[in-house]
Protein backbone atom coordinates (compact mmCIF):
# COMPACT_ATOMS: atom_id res chain seq x y z
CA UNK A 1 0.00 0.00 0.00
CA UNK A 2 1.41 3.35 -0.97
CA UNK A 3 0.55 5.94 1.55
CA UNK A 4 2.53 9.00 2.49
CA UNK A 5 2.86 9.66 6.18
CA UNK A 6 1.25 13.06 6.12
CA UNK A 7 -1.83 12.09 4.12
CA UNK A 8 -5.20 12.56 5.77
CA UNK A 9 -7.63 9.67 6.13
CA UNK A 10 -10.49 9.76 3.65
CA UNK A 11 -13.01 8.79 6.33
CA UNK A 12 -12.60 9.31 10.02
CA UNK A 13 -14.84 8.47 12.96
CA UNK A 14 -14.14 10.59 16.01
CA UNK A 15 -15.56 9.63 19.38
CA UNK A 16 -18.75 8.24 17.86
CA UNK A 17 -21.45 7.06 20.25
CA UNK A 18 -24.70 5.63 18.96
CA UNK A 19 -27.36 4.84 21.52
CA UNK A 20 -30.81 3.30 21.32
CA UNK A 21 -33.72 3.76 23.68
CA UNK A 22 -34.85 0.29 24.76
CA UNK A 23 -37.34 -0.77 27.49
CA UNK A 24 -34.41 -1.64 29.77
CA UNK A 25 -32.87 1.80 29.44
CA UNK A 26 -30.26 3.04 26.99
CA UNK A 27 -28.48 0.51 24.81
CA UNK A 28 -25.02 1.87 24.14
CA UNK A 29 -24.44 0.06 20.86
CA UNK A 30 -21.38 2.14 19.98
CA UNK A 31 -19.39 4.06 22.56
CA UNK A 32 -16.63 6.60 21.97
CA UNK A 33 -15.49 4.83 18.83
CA UNK A 34 -12.74 6.29 16.67
CA UNK A 35 -11.33 4.76 13.54
CA UNK A 36 -10.21 5.90 10.13
CA UNK A 37 -9.47 4.56 6.70
CA UNK A 38 -7.01 5.92 4.16
CA UNK A 39 -7.52 6.14 0.43
CA UNK A 40 -7.11 2.74 -1.19
CA UNK A 41 -6.79 0.99 2.15
CA UNK A 42 -8.77 -1.95 3.54
CA UNK A 43 -9.68 -1.51 7.17
CA UNK A 44 -11.03 -4.65 8.82
CA UNK A 45 -13.50 -4.24 11.65
CA UNK A 46 -13.90 -7.47 13.59
CA UNK A 47 -16.03 -8.48 16.53
CA UNK A 48 -18.79 -10.82 17.61
CA UNK A 49 -22.52 -10.17 17.26
CA UNK A 50 -23.69 -7.11 19.10
CA UNK A 51 -20.26 -5.51 19.35
CA UNK A 52 -21.46 -2.47 17.43
CA UNK A 53 -19.52 -3.00 14.20
CA UNK A 54 -22.61 -2.77 11.99
CA UNK A 55 -24.26 0.04 13.96
CA UNK A 56 -21.10 2.10 13.47
CA UNK A 57 -21.27 1.49 9.72
CA UNK A 58 -24.94 2.43 9.55
CA UNK A 59 -24.13 5.56 11.55
CA UNK A 60 -21.61 6.59 8.89
CA UNK A 61 -24.34 6.43 6.24
CA UNK A 62 -26.87 7.94 8.64
CA UNK A 63 -29.13 4.97 8.27
CA UNK A 64 -29.80 4.68 12.01
CA UNK A 65 -33.53 5.16 12.68
CA UNK A 66 -33.94 8.20 14.92
CA UNK A 67 -35.72 7.56 17.31
CA UNK A 68 -35.14 5.03 18.91
CA UNK A 69 -31.54 5.63 17.83
CA UNK A 70 -29.50 8.69 18.67
CA UNK A 71 -26.02 9.81 17.81
CA UNK A 72 -24.96 10.72 21.31
CA UNK A 73 -21.53 12.05 20.49
CA UNK A 74 -18.85 12.34 17.88
CA UNK A 75 -18.07 13.32 14.33
CA UNK A 76 -17.89 11.42 11.08
CA UNK A 77 -15.47 13.23 8.83
CA UNK A 78 -15.59 12.36 5.15
CA UNK A 79 -13.04 14.28 3.10
CA UNK A 80 -13.01 16.88 5.85
CA UNK A 81 -16.77 17.47 6.17
CA UNK A 82 -18.79 16.17 9.12
CA UNK A 83 -21.46 13.90 7.67
CA UNK A 84 -23.55 14.24 10.82
CA UNK A 85 -24.09 17.92 10.09
CA UNK A 86 -25.13 17.57 6.47
CA UNK A 87 -28.74 18.15 5.42
CA UNK A 88 -30.44 14.85 4.46
CA UNK A 89 -30.64 15.86 0.83
CA UNK A 90 -26.87 16.22 0.60
CA UNK A 91 -26.38 13.03 2.57
CA UNK A 92 -28.50 11.09 0.09
CA UNK A 93 -26.20 12.23 -2.67
CA UNK A 94 -23.14 10.97 -0.83
CA UNK A 95 -24.79 7.70 0.06
CA UNK A 96 -24.47 5.24 -2.80
CA UNK A 97 -22.50 7.76 -4.81
CA UNK A 98 -19.35 8.41 -2.78
CA UNK A 99 -19.85 5.99 0.09
CA UNK A 100 -21.70 2.80 -0.68
CA UNK A 101 -22.45 -0.36 1.18
CA UNK A 102 -22.70 -4.09 0.53
CA UNK A 103 -24.79 -6.02 3.02
CA UNK A 104 -24.74 -9.60 4.24
CA UNK A 105 -27.97 -10.78 2.72
CA UNK A 106 -28.52 -9.51 -0.81
CA UNK A 107 -32.03 -10.96 -0.83
CA UNK A 108 -33.23 -8.39 1.66
CA UNK A 109 -31.48 -5.54 -0.13
CA UNK A 110 -33.26 -6.08 -3.44
CA UNK A 111 -36.88 -5.37 -4.17
CA UNK A 112 -38.31 -8.78 -5.15
CA UNK A 113 -40.87 -7.39 -7.63
CA UNK A 114 -38.46 -5.54 -9.93
CA UNK A 115 -35.94 -7.02 -12.33
CA UNK A 116 -32.21 -6.82 -11.67
CA UNK A 117 -31.91 -4.53 -14.69
CA UNK A 118 -34.52 -2.09 -13.40
CA UNK A 119 -32.95 -1.86 -9.95
CA UNK A 120 -29.38 -1.62 -11.18
CA UNK A 121 -30.02 1.01 -13.87
CA UNK A 122 -31.95 3.09 -11.32
CA UNK A 123 -28.60 3.71 -9.59
CA UNK A 124 -27.33 5.44 -12.73
CA UNK A 125 -30.47 7.38 -13.61
CA UNK A 126 -30.74 8.64 -10.01
CA UNK A 127 -27.15 9.33 -9.06
CA UNK A 128 -25.54 10.12 -12.38
CA UNK A 129 -28.56 11.46 -14.23
CA UNK A 130 -27.92 9.16 -17.15
CA UNK A 131 -30.61 8.53 -19.74
CA UNK A 132 -32.46 5.21 -19.54
CA UNK A 133 -30.49 3.82 -22.47
CA UNK A 134 -27.10 4.92 -21.13
CA UNK A 135 -28.01 3.56 -17.70
CA UNK A 136 -28.80 0.13 -19.15
CA UNK A 137 -25.48 0.09 -20.98
CA UNK A 138 -23.61 1.11 -17.84
CA UNK A 139 -25.45 -1.60 -15.86
CA UNK A 140 -24.40 -4.29 -18.33
CA UNK A 141 -20.81 -3.02 -18.11
CA UNK A 142 -20.89 -3.20 -14.32
CA UNK A 143 -22.30 -6.74 -14.35
CA UNK A 144 -19.52 -7.67 -16.72
CA UNK A 145 -16.92 -6.09 -14.42
CA UNK A 146 -18.34 -8.26 -11.64
CA UNK A 147 -17.75 -11.30 -13.84
CA UNK A 148 -21.40 -12.19 -14.27
CA UNK A 149 -21.90 -14.48 -17.27
CA UNK A 150 -24.43 -13.30 -19.92
CA UNK A 151 -25.20 -9.95 -18.27
CA UNK A 152 -27.96 -9.06 -20.77
CA UNK A 153 -29.93 -12.09 -19.64
CA UNK A 154 -29.33 -11.34 -15.95
CA UNK A 155 -30.76 -7.83 -16.48
CA UNK A 156 -34.15 -9.40 -17.22
CA UNK A 157 -34.39 -11.78 -14.25
CA UNK A 158 -35.77 -11.22 -10.75
CA UNK A 159 -33.57 -11.44 -7.62
CA UNK A 160 -35.00 -14.80 -6.45
CA UNK A 161 -33.99 -16.42 -9.73
CA UNK A 162 -30.31 -15.94 -8.94
CA UNK A 163 -28.06 -18.03 -6.69
CA UNK A 164 -26.70 -16.44 -3.52
CA UNK A 165 -23.29 -15.88 -5.09
CA UNK A 166 -24.80 -14.25 -8.18
CA UNK A 167 -27.04 -12.00 -6.07
CA UNK A 168 -24.00 -10.84 -4.12
CA UNK A 169 -22.19 -10.09 -7.40
CA UNK A 170 -25.13 -7.96 -8.54
CA UNK A 171 -25.14 -6.24 -5.14
CA UNK A 172 -21.46 -5.42 -5.61
CA UNK A 173 -22.12 -4.16 -9.15
CA UNK A 174 -24.77 -1.86 -7.69
CA UNK A 175 -22.51 -0.65 -4.87
CA UNK A 176 -19.61 0.04 -7.21
CA UNK A 177 -21.76 1.51 -9.97
CA UNK A 178 -21.01 5.11 -9.16
CA UNK A 179 -17.36 4.47 -8.47
CA UNK A 180 -17.51 5.27 -4.76
CA UNK A 181 -14.56 6.57 -2.76
CA UNK A 182 -15.37 4.36 0.20
CA UNK A 183 -17.01 0.94 0.13
CA UNK A 184 -18.43 -0.44 3.35
CA UNK A 185 -18.81 -4.21 3.15
CA UNK A 186 -20.77 -5.60 6.10
CA UNK A 187 -20.33 -9.38 6.32
CA UNK A 188 -20.42 -9.56 2.51
CA UNK A 189 -19.81 -13.32 2.33
CA UNK A 190 -21.30 -14.64 5.55
CA UNK A 191 -24.40 -16.03 3.83
CA UNK A 192 -22.35 -17.77 1.14
CA UNK A 193 -20.75 -21.19 0.86
CA UNK A 194 -17.01 -21.27 1.40
CA UNK A 195 -16.02 -21.84 -2.25
CA UNK A 196 -18.36 -19.03 -3.36
CA UNK A 197 -17.05 -16.86 -0.52
CA UNK A 198 -13.52 -17.27 -1.82
CA UNK A 199 -14.66 -16.15 -5.28
CA UNK A 200 -16.57 -13.11 -3.99
CA UNK A 201 -13.77 -11.96 -1.65
CA UNK A 202 -11.29 -12.29 -4.47
CA UNK A 203 -13.60 -10.26 -6.74
CA UNK A 204 -14.14 -7.51 -4.13
CA UNK A 205 -10.40 -7.14 -3.51
CA UNK A 206 -9.60 -7.00 -7.22
CA UNK A 207 -12.33 -4.44 -7.94
CA UNK A 208 -11.23 -2.39 -4.93
CA UNK A 209 -7.75 -2.21 -6.41
CA UNK A 210 -9.03 -1.49 -9.92
CA UNK A 211 -11.27 1.36 -8.82
CA UNK A 212 -8.86 2.60 -6.11
CA UNK A 213 -11.45 2.59 -3.36
CA UNK A 214 -10.99 2.55 0.38
CA UNK A 215 -12.83 -0.27 2.06
CA UNK A 216 -14.21 -0.90 5.51
CA UNK A 217 -14.63 -4.66 5.75
CA UNK A 218 -16.85 -5.68 8.65
CA UNK A 219 -16.79 -9.32 9.66
CA UNK A 220 -16.88 -11.73 12.57
CA UNK A 221 -14.41 -14.00 10.75
CA UNK A 222 -10.77 -13.61 11.74
CA UNK A 223 -9.82 -15.72 8.73
CA UNK A 224 -11.33 -13.17 6.35
CA UNK A 225 -9.61 -10.35 8.24
CA UNK A 226 -6.24 -12.10 7.97
CA UNK A 227 -6.85 -12.61 4.26
CA UNK A 228 -8.10 -9.21 3.24
CA UNK A 229 -7.38 -6.37 5.65
CA UNK A 230 -4.33 -4.14 5.98
CA UNK A 231 -5.26 -2.61 9.29
CA UNK A 232 -7.72 -4.00 11.84
CA UNK A 233 -9.99 -2.63 14.54
CA UNK A 234 -11.21 -5.16 17.12
CA UNK A 235 -14.49 -4.24 18.81
CA UNK A 236 -16.07 -5.55 21.97
CA UNK A 237 -19.37 -4.41 23.50
CA UNK A 238 -19.50 -1.19 21.49
CA UNK A 239 -15.91 -0.18 21.97
CA UNK A 240 -12.63 -0.43 20.18
CA UNK A 241 -10.36 -2.64 22.27
CA UNK A 242 -7.48 -2.97 19.84
CA UNK A 243 -6.21 -1.50 16.61
CA UNK A 244 -3.21 -2.70 14.66
CA UNK A 245 -1.61 -3.52 11.39
CA UNK A 246 -2.87 -6.97 10.33
CA UNK A 247 0.49 -8.72 10.81
CA UNK A 248 1.06 -7.12 14.16
CA UNK A 249 -2.46 -8.04 15.33
CA UNK A 250 -2.10 -11.72 14.51
CA UNK A 251 1.48 -12.05 15.63
CA UNK A 252 1.36 -9.95 18.76
CA UNK A 253 -2.28 -9.56 19.81
CA UNK A 254 -2.32 -7.29 22.84
CA UNK A 255 -5.84 -7.31 24.27
CA UNK A 256 -6.91 -10.36 26.32
CA UNK A 257 -10.14 -10.46 24.27
CA UNK A 258 -8.29 -10.59 20.94
CA UNK A 259 -5.98 -13.26 22.32
CA UNK A 260 -8.89 -15.33 23.66
CA UNK A 261 -10.81 -14.96 20.39
CA UNK A 262 -7.88 -16.25 18.38
CA UNK A 263 -7.34 -19.17 20.75
CA UNK A 264 -10.99 -20.20 20.69
CA UNK A 265 -10.89 -20.90 16.95
CA UNK A 266 -10.38 -24.45 15.75
CA UNK A 267 -7.33 -24.56 13.48
CA UNK A 268 -7.17 -26.92 10.53
CA UNK A 269 -4.47 -29.52 10.91
CA UNK A 270 -3.90 -28.84 14.59
CA UNK A 271 -5.50 -31.42 16.81
CA UNK A 272 -6.23 -30.74 20.41
CA UNK A 273 -9.02 -32.11 22.49
CA UNK A 274 -10.56 -28.95 23.86
CA UNK A 275 -10.83 -25.46 22.42
CA UNK A 276 -10.05 -22.48 24.61
CA UNK A 277 -13.31 -21.06 25.85
CA UNK A 278 -14.10 -17.48 26.71
CA UNK A 279 -16.26 -17.92 29.77
CA UNK A 280 -19.55 -16.12 30.14
CA UNK A 281 -21.31 -13.92 27.63
CA UNK A 282 -21.10 -10.36 26.31
CA UNK A 283 -22.75 -7.97 28.80
CA UNK A 284 -26.09 -6.57 27.58
CA UNK A 285 -25.66 -3.13 25.98
CA UNK A 286 -27.98 -1.39 28.44
CA UNK A 287 -25.98 -2.43 31.52
CA UNK A 288 -23.93 0.41 32.91
CA UNK A 289 -20.37 -0.79 33.42
CA UNK A 290 -17.81 1.36 35.16
CA UNK A 291 -14.63 -0.50 34.43
CA UNK A 292 -13.48 -2.55 31.47
CA UNK A 293 -16.40 -4.24 29.73
CA UNK A 294 -14.38 -7.41 29.19
CA UNK A 295 -13.30 -7.66 32.85
CA UNK A 296 -15.96 -10.18 33.88
CA UNK A 297 -14.79 -12.63 31.20
CA UNK A 298 -11.11 -11.78 31.32
CA UNK A 299 -8.79 -14.40 32.79
CA UNK A 300 -6.36 -11.69 33.85
CA UNK A 301 -8.73 -9.12 35.29
CA UNK A 302 -7.50 -7.18 38.32
CA UNK A 303 -9.31 -5.02 40.84
CA UNK A 304 -8.54 -1.91 38.81
CA UNK A 305 -10.20 -3.39 35.69
CA UNK A 306 -13.58 -3.49 37.42
CA UNK A 307 -13.38 0.13 38.57
CA UNK A 308 -11.69 2.10 35.85
CA UNK A 309 -12.31 2.08 32.10
CA UNK A 310 -8.97 1.45 30.36
CA UNK A 311 -7.87 4.06 27.83
CA UNK A 312 -6.33 3.16 24.50
CA UNK A 313 -2.59 3.19 24.69
CA UNK A 314 0.05 2.51 22.13
CA UNK A 315 2.10 -0.67 22.58
CA UNK A 316 4.08 -0.12 19.42
CA UNK A 317 3.83 2.07 16.35
CA UNK A 318 0.29 1.87 15.03
CA UNK A 319 -0.73 -0.75 17.58
CA UNK A 320 -3.15 0.37 20.27
CA UNK A 321 -4.76 -1.60 23.07
CA UNK A 322 -7.37 -0.62 25.64
CA UNK A 323 -6.23 -2.64 28.63
CA UNK A 324 -4.75 -1.97 32.07
CA UNK A 325 -2.33 -4.89 31.81
Amino acid sequence: MDRTNNSEPILKLEDLSTHFAVPEGIARAVEHLSYHVFEGETLGVVGESGCGKSVAALSILRLIPIPPGRIASGKILFMGQNLLELPMKKMRKIRGDQISMVFQDPMTSFNPVFTIGYQLSKVFTLHQKLSRKEAVKRSVDMLEACEIPSPERIMKVYPHQLSGGMRQRVMIAMALGCNPTVLIADEPTTALDVTIQAEILDLILRLKKKFGMAMILITHDLGIIANSAQRVVVMYAGEKVEEADVLSLFEKPGHPYTIALMKSLPHLGKTKKFLNEIEGVVPPPFRVIQGCKFAERCPEAMERCRKERPRLRSIEKGHMVACHL
Partner: protein
Protein backbone atom coordinates in the same frame (compact mmCIF):
# COMPACT_ATOMS: atom_id res chain seq x y z
CA UNK B 1 -11.89 -37.06 22.39
CA UNK B 2 -10.81 -40.69 22.39
CA UNK B 3 -8.54 -41.61 19.51
CA UNK B 4 -9.89 -43.54 16.58
CA UNK B 5 -7.92 -46.60 17.57
CA UNK B 6 -9.51 -46.68 20.99
CA UNK B 7 -12.92 -47.00 19.40
CA UNK B 8 -13.36 -50.70 18.91
CA UNK B 9 -13.54 -51.58 15.28
CA UNK B 10 -16.49 -53.93 15.49
CA UNK B 11 -18.55 -51.66 17.60
CA UNK B 12 -20.76 -50.31 14.86
CA UNK B 13 -23.81 -48.38 16.02
CA UNK B 14 -25.19 -47.16 12.73
CA UNK B 15 -24.81 -48.41 9.19
CA UNK B 16 -26.11 -46.44 6.26
CA UNK B 17 -26.16 -48.43 3.04
CA UNK B 18 -26.81 -46.81 -0.30
CA UNK B 19 -29.27 -44.27 1.07
CA UNK B 20 -31.34 -42.43 -1.52
CA UNK B 21 -33.84 -39.71 -0.64
CA UNK B 22 -35.71 -37.99 -3.44
CA UNK B 23 -38.37 -35.32 -3.42
CA UNK B 24 -40.99 -34.94 -6.18
CA UNK B 25 -40.86 -31.62 -8.03
CA UNK B 26 -43.70 -29.84 -9.76
CA UNK B 27 -44.31 -30.79 -13.36
CA UNK B 28 -43.36 -28.07 -15.77
CA UNK B 29 -44.91 -29.63 -18.86
CA UNK B 30 -48.16 -31.44 -19.52
CA UNK B 31 -47.89 -35.28 -19.70
CA UNK B 32 -44.42 -35.04 -18.18
CA UNK B 33 -43.32 -37.75 -15.78
CA UNK B 34 -42.97 -36.26 -12.29
CA UNK B 35 -39.40 -35.00 -12.00
CA UNK B 36 -37.46 -35.81 -8.83
CA UNK B 37 -34.74 -34.10 -6.93
CA UNK B 38 -32.52 -36.67 -5.27
CA UNK B 39 -31.03 -34.72 -2.38
CA UNK B 40 -29.27 -37.86 -1.19
CA UNK B 41 -28.16 -40.10 -4.00
CA UNK B 42 -26.45 -43.27 -2.78
CA UNK B 43 -24.79 -42.46 0.52
CA UNK B 44 -23.07 -45.19 2.55
CA UNK B 45 -21.12 -44.96 5.79
CA UNK B 46 -20.97 -46.44 9.24
CA UNK B 47 -20.67 -44.88 12.65
CA UNK B 48 -19.14 -46.61 15.65
CA UNK B 49 -20.11 -46.30 19.29
CA UNK B 50 -18.53 -43.21 20.79
CA UNK B 51 -17.38 -41.97 17.39
CA UNK B 52 -17.96 -38.62 15.73
CA UNK B 53 -18.40 -38.62 12.00
CA UNK B 54 -18.34 -35.18 10.44
CA UNK B 55 -20.49 -34.64 7.38
CA UNK B 56 -19.31 -31.62 5.44
CA UNK B 57 -20.49 -29.94 2.29
CA UNK B 58 -21.94 -26.76 0.83
CA UNK B 59 -25.62 -25.82 0.67
CA UNK B 60 -27.72 -28.27 -1.29
CA UNK B 61 -25.21 -31.13 -1.01
CA UNK B 62 -27.72 -33.27 0.91
CA UNK B 63 -26.01 -33.35 4.30
CA UNK B 64 -29.11 -32.19 6.19
CA UNK B 65 -31.40 -34.58 4.27
CA UNK B 66 -29.00 -37.41 5.13
CA UNK B 67 -29.36 -36.63 8.84
CA UNK B 68 -33.12 -36.29 8.61
CA UNK B 69 -33.44 -39.53 6.62
CA UNK B 70 -31.52 -41.46 9.27
CA UNK B 71 -33.98 -40.33 11.91
CA UNK B 72 -36.81 -40.90 9.42
CA UNK B 73 -37.92 -37.30 9.69
CA UNK B 74 -38.12 -37.67 5.92
CA UNK B 75 -38.81 -41.05 4.32
CA UNK B 76 -35.85 -42.46 2.41
CA UNK B 77 -36.59 -43.55 -1.16
CA UNK B 78 -34.15 -46.46 -1.12
CA UNK B 79 -31.31 -47.94 0.88
CA UNK B 80 -30.91 -49.33 4.35
CA UNK B 81 -30.33 -47.75 7.71
CA UNK B 82 -29.23 -50.22 10.36
CA UNK B 83 -29.20 -49.02 13.97
CA UNK B 84 -27.64 -51.65 16.23
CA UNK B 85 -28.13 -54.09 13.35
CA UNK B 86 -31.84 -53.38 13.14
CA UNK B 87 -33.36 -51.95 10.01
CA UNK B 88 -34.81 -48.59 10.98
CA UNK B 89 -36.86 -48.32 7.79
CA UNK B 90 -39.30 -51.07 8.89
CA UNK B 91 -39.80 -49.83 12.44
CA UNK B 92 -43.33 -48.87 13.46
CA UNK B 93 -45.18 -47.77 16.58
CA UNK B 94 -43.41 -48.51 19.82
CA UNK B 95 -40.16 -49.61 18.18
CA UNK B 96 -39.97 -46.38 16.22
CA UNK B 97 -40.52 -44.39 19.37
CA UNK B 98 -37.78 -46.33 21.13
CA UNK B 99 -35.44 -45.60 18.24
CA UNK B 100 -36.26 -41.91 18.32
CA UNK B 101 -35.40 -41.93 22.02
CA UNK B 102 -31.98 -43.36 21.42
CA UNK B 103 -31.29 -41.22 18.36
CA UNK B 104 -31.74 -37.50 18.76
CA UNK B 105 -31.65 -34.63 16.35
CA UNK B 106 -29.99 -31.53 17.63
CA UNK B 107 -30.43 -28.31 15.77
CA UNK B 108 -29.25 -25.53 18.03
CA UNK B 109 -29.31 -27.01 21.50
CA UNK B 110 -27.12 -29.99 22.28
CA UNK B 111 -28.38 -30.25 25.85
CA UNK B 112 -30.66 -33.17 25.07
CA UNK B 113 -32.41 -34.11 28.28
CA UNK B 114 -32.51 -37.79 27.39
CA UNK B 115 -29.54 -40.04 27.12
CA UNK B 116 -29.18 -40.90 23.47
CA UNK B 117 -26.73 -43.25 21.84
CA UNK B 118 -26.68 -41.26 18.65
CA UNK B 119 -26.94 -37.53 18.21
CA UNK B 120 -27.48 -36.09 14.75
CA UNK B 121 -26.22 -32.54 15.16
CA UNK B 122 -27.09 -30.34 12.19
CA UNK B 123 -25.00 -27.15 12.17
CA UNK B 124 -25.17 -26.99 15.98
CA UNK B 125 -22.70 -24.12 16.29
CA UNK B 126 -22.91 -22.29 12.98
CA UNK B 127 -25.18 -19.53 14.29
CA UNK B 128 -22.97 -18.91 17.31
CA UNK B 129 -20.15 -16.51 17.94
CA UNK B 130 -16.75 -18.16 18.19
CA UNK B 131 -16.42 -17.60 21.93
CA UNK B 132 -19.73 -19.41 22.50
CA UNK B 133 -19.01 -21.97 19.77
CA UNK B 134 -15.96 -23.17 21.72
CA UNK B 135 -18.08 -23.66 24.84
CA UNK B 136 -20.62 -25.81 22.97
CA UNK B 137 -18.03 -27.89 21.13
CA UNK B 138 -16.16 -28.60 24.36
CA UNK B 139 -19.43 -29.58 26.02
CA UNK B 140 -20.22 -32.02 23.22
CA UNK B 141 -16.75 -33.58 23.56
CA UNK B 142 -17.19 -33.95 27.33
CA UNK B 143 -20.65 -35.51 26.95
CA UNK B 144 -19.29 -37.97 24.42
CA UNK B 145 -16.51 -39.03 26.77
CA UNK B 146 -18.88 -39.49 29.65
CA UNK B 147 -21.74 -41.27 27.90
CA UNK B 148 -20.00 -42.80 24.85
CA UNK B 149 -22.43 -41.00 22.53
CA UNK B 150 -21.96 -41.19 18.77
CA UNK B 151 -22.30 -37.97 16.81
CA UNK B 152 -23.18 -37.41 13.22
CA UNK B 153 -21.89 -33.85 13.09
CA UNK B 154 -23.27 -32.01 10.07
CA UNK B 155 -21.65 -28.70 9.18
CA UNK B 156 -20.38 -26.52 6.40
CA UNK B 157 -17.41 -25.48 8.53
CA UNK B 158 -14.51 -27.79 7.82
CA UNK B 159 -12.32 -26.37 10.58
CA UNK B 160 -14.94 -27.08 13.23
CA UNK B 161 -15.67 -30.53 11.79
CA UNK B 162 -12.03 -31.48 11.64
CA UNK B 163 -11.62 -30.44 15.26
CA UNK B 164 -14.52 -32.47 16.68
CA UNK B 165 -14.64 -35.50 14.35
CA UNK B 166 -12.77 -38.78 14.33
CA UNK B 167 -13.63 -39.28 10.69
CA UNK B 168 -14.87 -36.81 8.09
CA UNK B 169 -17.12 -37.40 5.07
CA UNK B 170 -17.21 -34.77 2.32
CA UNK B 171 -20.49 -34.51 0.38
CA UNK B 172 -21.14 -32.98 -3.00
CA UNK B 173 -24.48 -33.05 -4.83
CA UNK B 174 -26.04 -35.90 -2.88
CA UNK B 175 -22.98 -38.14 -2.72
CA UNK B 176 -20.05 -38.69 -0.42
CA UNK B 177 -16.93 -37.99 -2.49
CA UNK B 178 -14.34 -38.66 0.20
CA UNK B 179 -14.28 -40.18 3.67
CA UNK B 180 -11.19 -40.44 5.83
CA UNK B 181 -9.84 -40.08 9.36
CA UNK B 182 -10.02 -36.39 10.30
CA UNK B 183 -6.27 -35.89 10.28
CA UNK B 184 -6.02 -37.34 6.76
CA UNK B 185 -8.68 -35.01 5.34
CA UNK B 186 -6.40 -32.11 6.14
CA UNK B 187 -2.99 -33.75 5.66
CA UNK B 188 -3.75 -35.94 2.64
CA UNK B 189 -6.90 -34.70 0.89
CA UNK B 190 -7.45 -36.79 -2.25
CA UNK B 191 -10.57 -35.60 -4.04
CA UNK B 192 -10.23 -32.33 -6.00
CA UNK B 193 -13.37 -31.02 -4.27
CA UNK B 194 -11.91 -31.67 -0.81
CA UNK B 195 -8.76 -29.87 -1.89
CA UNK B 196 -10.79 -26.94 -3.19
CA UNK B 197 -12.81 -26.73 0.03
CA UNK B 198 -9.65 -26.74 2.12
CA UNK B 199 -7.95 -24.06 0.12
CA UNK B 200 -11.05 -21.84 0.06
CA UNK B 201 -11.10 -21.54 3.84
CA UNK B 202 -9.58 -18.23 4.93
CA UNK B 203 -7.00 -19.20 7.52
CA UNK B 204 -6.58 -16.78 10.43
CA UNK B 205 -2.97 -16.10 9.54
CA UNK B 206 -2.10 -13.07 7.41
CA UNK B 207 1.01 -14.82 6.13
CA UNK B 208 -0.97 -17.56 4.41
CA UNK B 209 -3.47 -15.67 2.30
CA UNK B 210 -5.64 -17.51 -0.21
CA UNK B 211 -3.82 -17.61 -3.50
CA UNK B 212 -6.17 -16.66 -6.28
CA UNK B 213 -9.37 -18.45 -7.02
CA UNK B 214 -9.99 -22.02 -6.01
CA UNK B 215 -13.14 -22.98 -7.88
CA UNK B 216 -15.16 -21.25 -10.52
CA UNK B 217 -18.88 -21.35 -10.97
CA UNK B 218 -21.89 -22.22 -8.89
CA UNK B 219 -22.96 -25.60 -7.61
CA UNK B 220 -25.13 -27.24 -10.33
CA UNK B 221 -28.87 -27.58 -9.83
CA UNK B 222 -29.36 -30.81 -7.84
CA UNK B 223 -32.57 -31.46 -9.81
CA UNK B 224 -30.51 -31.66 -12.98
CA UNK B 225 -27.07 -32.92 -11.97
CA UNK B 226 -24.27 -33.28 -14.56
CA UNK B 227 -23.69 -36.72 -16.08
CA UNK B 228 -20.84 -38.89 -14.87
CA UNK B 229 -18.94 -37.38 -12.00
CA UNK B 230 -21.18 -34.54 -10.75
CA UNK B 231 -18.17 -32.46 -9.71
CA UNK B 232 -16.69 -32.38 -13.22
CA UNK B 233 -18.31 -29.03 -14.16
CA UNK B 234 -16.22 -27.27 -11.51
CA UNK B 235 -13.28 -29.65 -11.39
CA UNK B 236 -9.89 -28.23 -12.43
CA UNK B 237 -8.64 -31.65 -13.60
CA UNK B 238 -11.76 -33.07 -15.29
CA UNK B 239 -11.21 -35.29 -18.35
CA UNK B 240 -13.48 -36.95 -20.93
CA UNK B 241 -14.08 -40.01 -18.81
CA UNK B 242 -15.53 -37.86 -16.04
CA UNK B 243 -18.58 -36.90 -18.10
CA UNK B 244 -19.23 -40.49 -19.18
CA UNK B 245 -18.71 -42.53 -16.04
CA UNK B 246 -19.79 -42.08 -12.47
CA UNK B 247 -16.78 -42.12 -10.18
CA UNK B 248 -17.31 -44.80 -7.54
CA UNK B 249 -15.91 -44.68 -4.03
CA UNK B 250 -12.64 -46.63 -3.88
CA UNK B 251 -10.21 -47.32 -1.12
CA UNK B 252 -7.14 -45.18 -1.70
CA UNK B 253 -5.47 -45.74 1.64
CA UNK B 254 -6.16 -47.23 5.06
CA UNK B 255 -9.69 -46.24 6.11
CA UNK B 256 -9.61 -43.63 3.33
CA UNK B 257 -12.08 -43.71 0.41
CA UNK B 258 -12.58 -41.25 -2.44
CA UNK B 259 -14.59 -41.10 -5.66
CA UNK B 260 -12.43 -39.68 -8.45
CA UNK B 261 -11.32 -41.14 -11.78
CA UNK B 262 -7.92 -39.51 -11.42
CA UNK B 263 -7.09 -41.37 -8.22
CA UNK B 264 -5.20 -44.64 -8.08
CA UNK B 265 -6.83 -47.26 -5.85
CA UNK B 266 -4.75 -48.46 -2.91
CA UNK B 267 -2.20 -51.09 -3.95
CA UNK B 268 -2.50 -50.24 -7.66
CA UNK B 269 0.93 -48.67 -7.93
Amino acid sequence: MSSLKEIKMNNVLLQVINLVTCFPLEKTKLFQKTPFLCAVNGVSFDLKKGETLGLVGESGCGKTTTGRSILRLVEPTAGQILFEDEDVSVLTGQDMRAFRRSAQMVFQDPFASLNPKLVVADEPVSALDVSIQAQIINLMVRLQEEFNISYLFISHDLAVVEHISHRVAIMYLGKIVEIAPAENIYAKPAHPYTKALLSAIPVPDPRSRIKGMVLRGDIPNPADPPSGCTFRTRCPIAEDVCSREVAEMREIGPDHLAACHALQPAGAE
